[in-house]
Every structure is written in C-alpha cells, then in structure tokens.
C-alpha cells in the first residue's frame, strides 16, 4: 500500500494550558489534533496522579498532531509561544500515513 511521510508531534502539557495551546495551534492553521488524558507520572516536579483529583491544576494532557513535514516549523513556533515556560515535553517523530490528503 502507498504510504506518505508525516510528522507526529506530541505535546505533553499541563491541563490548565490545554485550551491556550489548542487555540494557538488552530490560529496557526493546525486544525487537526487529538487530546488525550494522562493518568499520572513523575518528572522534575515529582510524582503525580490524576486519581481522586477534582482540580485540573496538577493534571497533564497530551495534544497529538500529525502534519505534513513542511508545516512542522510553523507548528513548533506557535506551540512554543505557549509551552515555553510551562511544565511539559514536546516530541517529534517521523511516521507514515495512508491518506496524505487528510493532513
């Protein structure tokens, strides 16, 4: 089957920043993304878990975008305006997609 190169950007960020990040991505022309809940983890600020929490203050989410390689720089420039000072991780991976016209 024919496949096409794409970039998969995963931004793990504090839940309170989710809307700011997705708004910024949309204004930069990135309209396709998925948001996943993160159950817990551990990092420079110590361990945490979403279990039993009623506040989003200590929660994290992952925003996942799959885009054409030529749009990567625009996405990262926009995303970094939001995530620069905040707790989180940004990773970029090469992936193959089947339907290139969707990205």
């Amino acid at each position: 089957m024919q496949t096409h190169h794409a970039k998969r950007v995963v931004i793990t960020i504090e839940a309170v920043m989710q809307k700011r990040l997705t708004d910024t991505l949309e204004s930069a022309g990135v309209t396709g993304y998925s948001v996943l809940a993160v159950l817990g983890g551990s990092g420079r600020s110590g361990p945490w878990t979403a279990e039993g929490q009623i506040s989003r203050a200590s929660g994290m989410v992952q925003v996942i975008c799959i885009i054409k390689p030529e749009r990567l720089d625009g996405l990262l420039d926009a995303a970094f305006k939001v995530v620069d000072k905040h707790i989180g991780v940004v990773t970029i991976a090469d992936v193959e997609v089947v339907r290139a016209e969707r990205f």
Binding site: E14, G46, T49, Q53, A57, S58
Partner: protein, 325 residues
Amino acid sequence: MADIFDLAATNLLSPVILSFVLGLVAALGRSDLSVPEAAAKAMSIYLLFAIGFKGGAAVASNGLDATLVATLVAGFVLSAVLPFIAFAMLRVLTNLSRIDAAAVAGHYGSISIVTFVAATSVLEGRAISSEGYMVAVAAVMEAPAILSALWLVSRGGSGRRMDSELMREIMLNGSIVLLVGAFVIGAITGQEGLDKVSNFIVAPFTGVLCLFLLDMGLVAGRGLRESRSVLNMGAVAFGIIMPLVGSVFGLGAGLLIGLSPGGIALLMVLSASASYIAVPAAMRVALPEANPSVYLTLSLGVTFPFNLTIGIPLYVAVSQAVTGG
C-alpha cells in the same frame, strides 16, 4: 480552655472527619485504596450544588439582613489582605523565592470550599445555626487573593501576569459558577424548592461528604508523603501557623460584624483555609515559574488535613466560647 478542647475533641469524632482520617491513614500506609477521578468530580459537583442550594434556601426563609453586605466586604478584604501576611511570614520562616512565596501566599488568602463544606456539616451535627449567605461569602473570597499574589510578584520587578482570559477563568471557574448558581436557585425557590429536592440534596449529603472526604484524605495523604522531600520545617510550620493566624482575622471580622457563633466559625474556617482548586490552576497559568509541588503540598498535604482534624473543631469551639453561643 479545657471546655474548648472538650468541644474540639467531640467534633473530631464525627463520621465526616473520621472518614477523612481513614483516607489519610490509608494513603500514608500506601494502601491501594483509590477513588476514580470521575467519581471524585461527580461528588464535588453534588456537594457544591447541595451546599449552595441549602444556603440560598436559608436566605429565602430567614430574609436578608444588614450584615450580608458587611460580611461580603469583610470576605473580600480578608482574601485580599491575608496573602500579604502570609507572604511576610513565608519570607521569615522559609527560604522560598519571591515567586514561590507569592504563589503560596495567594493560596492562603483564597479558600478551600471542601473545608467550608465539612465545617457546615460539623455545625449542623452540633445543631449550631449559621447565616445561609456564608456560601456567597465563600465565593467572594476565591479570587481577590490571586490578584494580591500577582501584585506581590509584579512589585518584585516581573512583567505583566494577568490577561483577560485568565481573569475570565478565575471569575467563572466551575466551582464558583456552581456554588453561586445553586445559591441563586435556592434563594429563588426557597423552602418549597428545597422540599422538592431534599431527598436528593439533604438526606444523602453527609454520606456523600464522608465518601468525598475519604478521597480527599487519600489525596492529602499522598501530598503529606511527598512533603518530606518538598518542604522544610519552616514551610511545614507555616502551613500550620498561617491557618491559625487567618482564623484570628476571621474571628475579629465576625465579631465586629456581629455574626452568629456559627457564622463566625465559618468565617474563621474560610480565613484559615487554603485553596487547592482555583488558585493552583490560576498560578500554573500566571506564574509557571513557581514550583507547584511547594504550594500544592503545603495547601493539600499540610493545611487541609490540619484544618479538617484540628482546625474546624477548634474554630467552632473558640467561636462558641467567645460568643457564649
């Protein structure tokens, strides 16, 4: 003084507070007991709706009096001023940076609605009445402390921290909207409205609160476990002394206004409690450089358990002793 401690000991042995202790002990013992996030959120929505509705219905039944406006103003002022006292104490007792100290201080000017709900339950259990509008006072006290904390940081030379989006999020955060909205519904529909839903929001209230505080005990216990690595002795001392200082301000304001013993106890609780819902979220957005482990662990792992187990019984007992109620 012996009477105060006798009353405090009686309050301590309520099902609500013992449920919290169970969660705390389970977490400290590393039990796998847990409450799903969605269940905890559902219970918090129930409790906020019920407490708001009951407060509104009480105002509809008893009518408004002149102390309402004075108490709202007092709540606003206490929330705005307490961060400055907390900030000064933190600079003396701890080696926290200016930004961390300001972020922590903001938490101690704002309120913990769960502590407030637990206190109303303790008052009901002891048949001590309070002003129904204290729910509205709780809502008013959420936000001013955040502005004070941000001012403390900006005074230190940092740039702009507040934007209109953040202000909107603070003023319209879910717990405030639900609390004030339910209060308004209760005030409009009055006792008749309350009677229609009492099987849902009155009868099961204490049982749901017990389960919810079991969960909060688990969360606080986890925070307490972490406190050893995050907080030094000065910070832990602050987490215990500051609520007592805040409660004295609440006591003074309540006496000046002429609130009932129950109302004074609730104002003491509001002044003594530290936020762990609205303020941490605002601080993550406005002060990302501040260490969330410090303010969340202090608020949730030190001050919350202190207020639940020792503070509330003590504030209720003191308010009764001072007013002779």
